[in-house]
């Protein structure tokens, strides 16, 4: 087997996930929050693929593909929302989007 061991991949995946989570928690711009979410998902994907290789089994890869599809749809909805907010001239700040009232 070539290349680094599975533990490295998991380390990178954890790091990506942590960076993403931190971004979600501390950034106020919804665009950046969305970006950070993508990073978290990709961290998860990396872990899935690493496990798939480790177990010599394709299931994890299939799962990662599914996650990508979900992530793409999620971005579509999220970006749509952000565009709509922008059109209504609502400031792009998640802290000020605290009311559910229409």
């Amino acid at each position: 087997m070539m290349g680094p061991g599975t533990a490295w991949y998991l380390g990178v995946a954890g790091f990506l996930f942590g960076v993403g989570a931190l971004g979600v928690l501390i950034r106020r711009n919804p665009l950046i929050v969305l970006l950070s979410l993508e990073i978290m998902l990709n961290g998860g994907n990396l872990a899935l693929i690493a496990f798939a290789r480790n177990l010599n089994n394709g299931d994890g890869q299939i799962f990662a593909l599914a996650v990508m599809a979900v992530a793409a749809s999620e971005v579509v909805v999220g970006l749509g929302l952000i565009v709509a907010l922008n059109r209504k001239r609502i400031p792009l700040d998640v802290d000020r989007l605290s009311s559910l009232r229409g």
Binding site: A21, V24, L25, I26, V33, V94, D95, S98, S99, L100
Partner: protein, 625 residues
């Protein structure tokens, strides 16, 4: 014969149902005719039963017909059954006969009232209930009829429901009667426990003296409440708030005498508890004196007659309490005649004077309505017991029976004699004040005579019939010369006293003399001069307040109840029940308000909460591992 009894029982019920269901489709007068017809049919049924029983010899004069098993549980069983025996037929004839006359009279009296149909439905319901009471083949049915006459009495007293005083009187009557119903129910429970049945036959069984006394006391409680005897007498005068025919039928002729019927019907248990029987007689004697005294100062024509009713029922209690069952029942019959007559004659007077009942405003009606005067005079003479009117024969034999009952009997006898004097005094006070003298200004202004139309005939006809009955009704039995009623009732209730001829003679003579003395005194005070009430300030005040019995009950029962209720509300209900549920709700809301603080709406806080929770879970997971 037995089908006659069923027709008698059910035809008033059918009339009540028809009038109720027909609503507006039956004319007001039509409702009256229907009710009257049903009562006459009932009377026909009663006569058929009577004739049927006459055809049998003495020992076999009991017929029971069971329609269905009403209640059964374990070994206990009671049917819906009517019983025909001499006593129930005797009562059926009185109830249906006098009832039919009074309902016929109501057609005229209630003419033009707003709710005639309701009135006649109630009247028919009452006649049915009363017939159920007297025909019921066991104690349970008797109690059912007992409760139903109380209900119809309540409905009819409160018939003019726009008058607050009528509603108050109806409630008072119902509550007073409910006390009696409750004691009767308790007596029945005890009987069912001891004997496992409610047939009349078990009353003659062997019971310990405690059980017999308790059962007799319970039944006496019911009788006393229904018949307005001491100490539950206060409802009857107030019941005069109802229409006059109601007073005549329910509160004079039939329902209030049900207590006498009950004691005669259950006489065996009273014979096993002689002290209770003596108590009944004593209560009767007390009531006849108290009611007679109060009647002296009443100024409402119907209330005077109401007090005389209480007083006469006192005589009946005196008689049946001492074991003179036939005499008590005989007086019940003659009383039904002359008291219904008096009430209905008074009703004509009230009708003619535009619903005025205050005798101080009346006077001089003798010239204006001579025939009504004659009827009233006959009724009054029969009530006082003047020979040869009905009351003479029935009342005096009760007094004679009292003489045959030892020392206690003599005490009661003296009370009864004093009562006859009072009866003469208050009855003729009423007669003189209303009919004698010159017509008062009020009478001149308001008097209008009866016309010869349906109203006039319906009012006058029954009064005429009852006037005749009040004269000849007493001739049926003249102790000790002939006594068909005693013979008739012998198989049901054998009298325990048998007064001798000299006792009869002495009682009759003394009662007659005292009655005449009362009349003479009344003439001196009210006939010769015209004084509404004599001036003995203290005695008058006491009598006008009816010996303060209402006030006593008010202080003894009503006020403590109100205080207790207020206290309970203030110390228990308000701080405990109300406050605990209030604070339960308040605390829940406070808790909700506290939790809602966490719902900030800030996305990042939620995310932080999720992330930190996951982190904690992960740490725990690792640590446990």
């Amino acid at each position: 014969m037995i089908s006659g009894a069923w027709i008698c029982l059910l035809s008033p019920l059918a009339a009540a149902g028809l009038i109720t269901l027909a609503g507006e489709r039956i004319s007001r007068r039509g409702a009256g005719y229907l009710a009257t017809l049903s009562c006459f049919v009932a009377f026909g049924g009663a006569v058929a039963s009577f004739v049927g029983l006459l055809g049998r010899d003495g020992g076999h004069r009991v017929v029971v017909s069971t329609a269905w098993t009403w209640i059964s549980g374990g070994s206990y069983r009671s049917g819906f059954e009517v019983m025909i025996d001499p006593l129930s037929v005797f009562m059926m004839l009185i109830v249906a006969g006098v009832g039919a006359l009074i309902v016929a009279y109501s057609i005229g009296y209630m003419d033009g009232d707003d709710e005639e149909r309701r009135y006649f439905a109630y009247m028919a319901l009452f006649v049915f209930s009363m017939l159920l009471l007297v025909q019921g083949g066991n104690l349970l049915l008797l109690l059912a009829g007992w409760g139903m006459v109380g209900l119809s009495s309540y409905l009819l007293i409160g018939f003019w429901h726009e008058r607050p005083s009528a509603i108050a009187a109806a409630k008072k009557a119902f509550i007073m009667n409910a006390i009696g119903d409750a004691t009767m129910a308790l007596a029945l429970f005890l009987l069912i426990k001891k004997a496992g049945s409610v047939e009349f036959g078990i009353l003659g069984g062997q019971y310990s003296s405690t059980v017999a006394t308790l059962v007799a006391l319970g039944l006496l409680g019911g009788a006393v409440a229904k018949s307005a005897q001491l100490p539950l007498q206060t409802w009857l005068p107030d019941a005069m708030e109802g229409p006059t025919p109601v007073s005549a039928l329910i509160h004079a002729a039939t329902m209030v005498t049900a207590g006498v019927y009950l004691i005669v019907r259950t006489h065996s248990i009273f014979e096993s508890a002689p002290h209770v029987a003596d108590l009944a007689a004593g209560l009767g004697a007390g009531t006849l004196l108290v009611a007679g005294l109060i009647a002296l100062v009443q100024v409402d024509i119907k209330r005077v007659i109401a007090y005389s009713t209480m007083s006469q029922i006192g005589y009946m209690f005196l008689g049946v309490g001492l074991g003179a069952y036939a005499n008590g029942m005989f007086h019940l019959m003659t009383h039904a005649f002359f008291k219904a007559l008096l009430f209905m004659a008074a009703g004509i007077v009230i009708h003619a004077l535009a619903d005025e009942q205050d005798i101080r405003k009346m006077g001089g009606l003798r010239q204006l309505m001579p025939r009504t005067y004659l009827a009233f005079l006959i009724g009054s003479l029969a009530l006082v017991g003047i020979f040869p009117f009905a009351g003479f024969f029935s009342k005096d034999s009760i007094l004679a029976a009292a003489m045959d009952h030892g020392t206690y009997g003599y005490v009661l006898w003296a009370a009864g004699l004093a009562g006859t004097f009072l009866t003469g005094l208050y009855t003729f006070r009423l007669l003189f004040l209303v009919f004698w003298g010159e017509p008062s200004p009020f009478v001149r202004e308001h008097f209008h005579a009866l016309k010869r139309d349906v109203v006039g005939v319906s009012l006058a006809g029954p009064v005429a019939i009852l006037a005749v009955l009040s004269v000849v009704g007493g001739w049926i039995q003249w102790e000790p010369l002939w006594h068909p009623i005693e013979t008739w009732l012998q198989t049901v209730a054998e009298p325990t006293v048998s007064p001798k001829s000299w006792q009869e003679a002495v009682s009759s003579a003394l009662a007659l003399l005292l009655g005449l003395g009362g009349i003479f005194l009344a003439w001196l005070i009210y006939g010769a001069r015209r004084v509404a009430v004599p001036r003995f300030a203290f005695a008058q005040r006491v009598l006008e307040h009816k010996f303060y019995v209402d006030e006593l009950y008010d202080a003894l029962f009503y006020r403590p109840t109100v205080w207790a209720a207020k206290g309970l509300y203030h110390w228990v209900e308000d701080p405990l029940v109300d406050e605990s549920s209030n604070s339960l709700g308040q605390d829940t809301r406070d808790l909700g308000r506290l939790v809602s603080r966490a719902q900030t709406g800030l996305l990042r806080t939620y995310a932080l909460a999720i992330a930190s929770s996951v982190a904690v879970l992960a740490l725990v997971f690792v640590a446990v591992r």
